[in-house]
Symmetry: C2
Subunit: 433 residues, 2 copies
């Protein structure tokens, strides 16, 4: 049995998870697959981390990525440092050196996929990236391989565990966004600087990767309308629940005859939907294709072991290819496919039903005024609720609308917010039926 050697770059949480998984499951993998995977070298700038690696498991420890990339015994470079710099140079250099690459780097892939996959194709090597989206959820392999014969119609899901944890906490305990974020940070679920997660950018990076695979169009992160969860209040979550909805940060990609919709924003979804049951830091992805119909995948979205599981799955995939003498070559997926001119619908043109919360002085004529501005802009009301009535005080008025063009909605809200009976910025949360 030939041993396939890997070089592991980046010994953070996931990197150490991969090290442990190969150390612990190497024998299981070779029994299952008839192929042996070994860690030939590890690289990290932190010498204490290098010291924690058992030399009996991995003979080569270095602070220089080049040393692994130029090592003739190494078949696969596993990049787990994240971010663009120096990950991009490391991956490109590895590919040019004929190494296969496994990475979990969503920021890099979503931003520079073309350069990376072109380089891989030129050098006839494989780039696997299952762990870049959805942690342990096998969504990349499913879209690339299992659903290959499908015209994908819709991909959407909860792609960020941190924000889902915060929204779940707010929903179950009635806490504010800031309180829930603190809890997430205490538990290590949110980072000290949580910007990438709570702004929705992390979800947008992942959606870009899924859209590349699903729709074969040349997407960049800028093509995705992105809105985070910082403005969601426990009040809105409570109101949504009254109407049978949960509030989730959804990443949504829909292919329609009018173009592709790409958006990340807080969303009201019916509590009866499977996605609504996804709690805490879990992730879930819904895919609709012309053959498979509706498909739903749920799992751990992050964390040492779940992410390591996907990385090792990717490593073994390449190792099995090498062992069956195809030298790990894979077809240049998407480099040919994702060349289509993109026809991405402008957010302003998309029709979506909305939840609106107006903070108004409760006096006669307010609801009539709001309704008439909505009507002027072609927005139909589905339900209204104004529970407490204390003449002269500020009260919330909740309106659920039917689908309306985003541009019209913005115009209407701007006009309403300029009225003197409106005392706070109107909250708008889109609804997904």
């Amino acid at each position: 049995m030939r041993t396939i050697n890997i070089g592991l770059i980046g010994l953070g949480t996931v990197g150490m998870g991969v090290y442990d998984a190969i150390k612990d499951s190497g024998e299981l993998i070779s029994r299952k697959m008839g192929v042996s995977v070994a860690i030939k070298g590890v690289c990290d700038k932190d010498k204490a981390l290098l010291d924690s690696v058992d030399p009996a498991v991995c003979p080569l420890k270095t602070t220089s990525a080049d040393e692994l990339i130029s090592d003739g015994d190494i078949d696969i470079i596993v990049e787990l440092i994240g971010g663009i710099d120096p990950a991009k140079e490391i991956i490109l250099s590895a590919l040019k050196n004929g190494k296969h690459v496994v990475t979990a780097n969503k920021a890099l892939l979503s931003g520079c996929w073309k350069e990376i996959f072109d380089t891989a194709a030129q050098n006839e090597v494989t780039v696997n990236f299952e762990a870049s989206v959805g942690g342990a959820i096998p969504i990349i392999r499913t879209l690339r391989e299992s659903f290959v014969a499908n015209k994908i119609n819709t991909i959407y899901g909860i792609l960020n565990g941190t924000t889902n944890f915060i929204l779940t906490e707010m929903s179950e305990k009635g806490t504010s966004f800031d309180e829930a974020l603190s809890v997430a940070q205490e538990k290590g679920i949110a980072e000290k600087d949580p910007e990438m997660d709570i702004s929705g950018k992390d979800s947008a990076h992942k959606l870009a990767i899924l859209s590349l695979l699903g729709f074969g169009v040349n997407i960049s992160n800028e093509d995705i309308y992105t809105e985070g969860i910082a403005d969601i209040s426990p009040e809105d979550i409570k109101n949504a629940a009254k109407w049978g909805y949960s509030v989730k940060l959804l990443a949504i990609a829909k292919s329609t005859s009018l173009g592709l919709q790409l958006r990340v924003h807080p969303t009201l979804i019916k509590s009866s939907r499977l996605l609504s049951d996804v709690k805490g830091a879990d992730n879930a992805i819904f895919v609709r294709g012309d053959l498979v119909g509706e498909s739903f995948l749920f799992g751990k979205g992050a964390g040492r072991k779940p992410t390591a599981s996907s990385v090792v799955g990717d490593i073994v995939d390449i190792a099995a290819n090498i062992a069956t003498s195809s030298e790990g070559k894979s077809l240049p997926y998407n480099v040919n496919y994702a060349r289509d001119k993109k026809n991405i619908k402008r957010m302003e043109e998309i029709c979506i039903p909305c939840y609106l919360r107006f903070s108004v002085v409760d006096k006669p004529g307010v609801l009539a005024s709001i309704s008439s501005v909505l009507a002027e802009n072609g927005i139909s009301i589905a339900s209204v609720s104004q529970e407490e009535r204390k003449e002269g005080e500020i009260v919330p008025v909740i309106i659920l609308t039917y689908a309306a063009e985003e541009g019209s909605m913005r115009k209407a809200i701007e006009k309403i917010d300029s009225q003197d009976y409106v005392k706070d910025k109107t909250v708008v949360i889109r609804i997904e039926e």
Copy 2:
């Protein structure tokens, strides 16, 4: 771009679905994967079906499987006739002729997997079988590849759409099993002879395949305790709902330190669980592994297009291997792995909580008698309900127990059922917490 030729044997619902999918999506597949798949030949004993095939799509139509198997241009034989005979001979003969095989045949694979995979390994060809379990759900690929580094702990799910449709119908409309079965037959969801489905055997075949992949043990269908849904009444479904449970036919495989549990039976599961939301003919599978944690896959469990999607995914997988010069070789998965001596726990030894419905004459001392027989057998009561009290009439007494050994439970029920206050066979439905 090299064209990979397939020979399609069996032009039933799924076979025609595969024909359509390749005809309609061939161009999409070649753009995605850089590999071209063509139907070189089709085989069916029904000449009318052969006539419905467009000669421009497929040049060779035959009633002889051998003609396709011996055709030098054909790379992959797709077997979609189902059953053991003649499917087994066709597959073995194709493998011996150096053809790769794609099949959806769960009865054959679960019964004869060793012979088939040994023959494939000897001839260095691949057998793919994603469509054999869970229709469009990519569970085979996920267990084999994505989760390869995991020690799988639990696999369970709704693996049969017909029975799930019947139970959903009974639950939503309060109809009897017989009525719900008739509806399923009218809609083409149940076959005229529904025995394989309603007896749980179809689920057991699928569970055997998943257990082979997940646990690497030498399992045969006989190792799986199997109980169908014909005895479930709408009354039990209603009672379960009162306690917050749904009734589902679950296929369950659990690896414990005391051995492997393998069982298919109607099961009460908490309505808050994702599996409980799986309605109609849909399927869903839950997998727990040491790295991935909890993972859940949902999708269409059967039907022309969803099944064809998985079959074509399998075809393209082999085609891509051939195109990258590994000649479609794959590692002899499971032939090495699934050699372990099986340590399958006897059903009698397994501890499971139960729902019990006793039909008793309502007279003093009955509950005391039932409770004391349960206590004698070491069975603890979690809840009791006896709603209507009409002295002397037959009333249902419902008891939910804590986990108790199946053997003790059977002994207790046998003793209780022999009492003269018991007027009908006691209903026992196991609970999965």
